[in-house]
Symmetry: C2
Subunit: 168 residues, 2 copies
Amino acid sequence: MKEIFERRSIRKYTDQPIPDEHVEKLLMAAMAAPSAGNQQPWEFVIIRDRKILEGITKFHPYSQMLKEAQLAIVVCADLDREKHVGYWQQDCAAATQNLLLEAQYLGIGAVWLGIYPREERVNGIKTLLGLPERVIPMAVISIGYPAENKGPSDRYDKTRVHINKWEF
Amino acid sequence: MKEIFERRSIRKYTDQPIPDEHVEKLLMAAMAAPSAGNQQPWEFVIIRDRKILEGITKFHPYSQMLKEAQLAIVVCADLDREKHVGYWQQDCAAATQNLLLEAQYLGIGAVWLGIYPREERVNGIKTLLGLPERVIPMAVISIGYPAENKGPSDRYDKTRVHINKWEF
């Protein structure tokens, strides 16, 4: 599917705003993800406030593109929603990947910035956004219309594929 | 994108075999996922051997559909490939979600079975497949052509969306 194979991390953006209905589509895609026992542990914070976007760049070392981004979406887990303890990272990562692919489908550029498990980043986001203790920010997605062109990256590596057992 | 919104967990399969080139497409999609610093920590084991598929059902409580599946793909992380320690679960979950969406695109049914962090399942798979100590199985994907029809599930929940801060 071309969205999967053509998606790349986009860190340069135009100043064209992203319409709210497209942001909603990104969130709908994220929430369509599978999760352990369908527990849907996720919560999302849309950041359009420039001061908050810049606040992130003060403690996250790889987040300078947020200064030019139209918005960011913070993907969080509410640990109180976990029925199957220990699966929230996988659930939220599946939701994040859906969001990135829907962005690609809509012609929107995005990049996944890691937060959890780096303690200083988790605490930085928690303080900046006023998250309750039980809510863990996993990732920040920086979003805007692309101002850079990247071709597909072929990452397929046959040596990573094993048949029936590890060795044969 | 319709693959995202129409994908459901498929647990009943026909006896039609899945061609190798489609299995390869699933793996190509998985490996096209983003990962922390592009570290690509993943390894995959394709299981078509019926005895091994049935072996999984002996220790995994929600895996009975493997008895009818055409194959399974075990998504693993090789911890020696982690440059950014602590992100392998998120990386492998993004790869898994790509795999599930590519399956949907190809008309193939699949369901994500959780392995990590349940110790008895991790150890069961490690023993069955002969995985080295450093390789952690995260999930098993059960795969076959669908013998059940499920409509899309609308999981969108506006109360999970926050603007700029948790509360305002």
